[in-house]
Symmetry: C2
DNA sequence: TATCATTTGTTCGTATGTATC
DNA sequence: CGATACATACGAACAAATGAT
């Protein structure tokens, strides 16, 4: 096998990594294998580099993991087009008269489903007051232009629902409406949001209709707080960064005198 | 092989997927294989489910892809602990007198290195004025408390450096200082940021000292614009969501009349 | 220190299934 | 239908890391 100059830095790399490295370098060069082009077939690579079929398959699997190639059953393995996200989800709030509306334009694909729930772990930490009962509303959002999907979950703790009965009556209302309801009940609202990313689970892949060559999802948690820093509402949104990108406006803030 | 009830929904799944499904379900149940526990060895699974070693290995690889397990050479395969991020990077700007400072507390681990560069693709699109020459400053940031790492890149287009000579003189200055320089030259600044995620490349894994069981990185692009919407500065930051989480403050904005 | 059993990692070879054209 | 291509599955051997003897 290739005992060539490229592995001078990593002399003890396994065969399949060496092969993956050679192919990755060739792809990066862009001459031999431009985006969209087909790589040599596995049998071709087998004889060209004098390695076994399984080694070739491991090398190609490595390329897929690196996000450089996609294999299609019966057709071949292709250099991945650099898929730039087709949509941008603006994670901003726009003031329009008395209303606060979302900065993006996502439609509700299905009716929201409401369940009663306990929360713990991640979400519990955001509410910062121990294990709690909640009203949870799940919905599927789509971008009508691009077909991009996102799942959205609204989590209302029961103690807040008790204080603001209008919330308990329509937990499946849109976030815009929920903000309105909270504001009308005399609360001054502030928002912050965290972003996380991880490998998608199979159910998430299905819900977001993720392409085969995408593997990660973005998860945001938006917390709506009152003037005392108490979390009133948490929203969770999941999207695939292969299709969308999140955008935030950064507004300088003046720390309150404490 | 197991023709048990669990594959009623997916009757024609390959063996390795069936096995991965069985193990994933057992992990999800949490009884037999709680987080941190060791899965049966490959030879054990081989005989228990009467499949070949390679099929077992494919199944375990599937579990790793799903983010459910981590294999350690010579020791075994373990159910992954749900690693909660240890640090939060606040992507906010705080006004302190005349200065704008970062909302987080990351130290510079090494001296920034400055290079002249061409940019194209992603970054080029953010500047929205075709291929350009830039001054690029790279630095490595660490959180002194947790040791969490991030890479940071400042990208200054030459046309902006020409107009604001102080920028060209100290391109490796901190973002805080760069904002100050731009503001002093009479520009009104606004900021926005996009978030992306993808599988980490080997060099990124090394730079961020990512643990073996982490696979994705978060990439942010912060654009500093003047009052006319012209991009003056782009910053790129990479972190591992296995260790950190990004936090944004959402400030409602009033759209300008126009 | 040295040896050994255990466990995952790498590599080979071969056969068959299934999608595409 | 046949040729080509990737996908699945089996079996075997050795390498390398780990932990205990």
């Amino acid at each position: 096998m290739p005992s060539d100059s490229t592995d001078a830095l990593q002399p003890h790399q396994p065969l399949y990594r060496q092969l993956a490295g050679i192919l990755a370098a060739a792809i990066a060069a862009g001459e031999e294998y431009p985006p969209g082009s087909r790589l040599p077939s596995e049998t071709e690579l087998e004889s060209r580099y004098n390695v076994s079929r399984s080694t070739v398959r491991q090398a190609v699997a490595e390329l897929r993991r690196m996000g450089l190639a996609v294999s299609k059953h019966g057709k071949g393995t292709f250099v991945r087009e650099q898929a730039t996200p087709v949509a941008t989800i603006k994670r901003t709030l726009i003031r329009r008269g008395k209303n606060l509306i979302m900065g993006h334009q996502l439609d509700e694909a299905e009716e929201a489903t409401v369940t009663r729930d306990h929360v713990s772990g991640d979400i519990e930490a955001l509410f910062a007051r121990g294990p709690i009962h909640t009203l949870t509303a799940d919905r599927l959002l789509t971008d009508p232009q691009t077909g991009v999907r996102a799942t959205h979950r609204t989590i209302i703790p029961f103690d807040v629902a008790d204080e603001v009965p209008a919330l308990a009556e329509q937990p499946a209302a849109s976030p815009t409406d929920l903000y309105g309801i909270l504001a009308e009940s005399g609360l001054t609202l502030t928002w912050w949001e965290t972003v996380d990313a991880r490998t998608a689970r199979p159910d998430e892949r299905a819900a977001l209709r993720m392409p085969d060559d995408a593997d990660t999802i973005l998860i945001t948690h938006r917390v709506t707080e009152d003037q005392n820093g108490r979390a009133l509402l948490v929203e969770e949104m999941r999207t695939s960064p292969a299709r969308v990108r999140l955008a935030y406006r950064i507004t300088p803030t003046t720390p309150k005198r404490g």
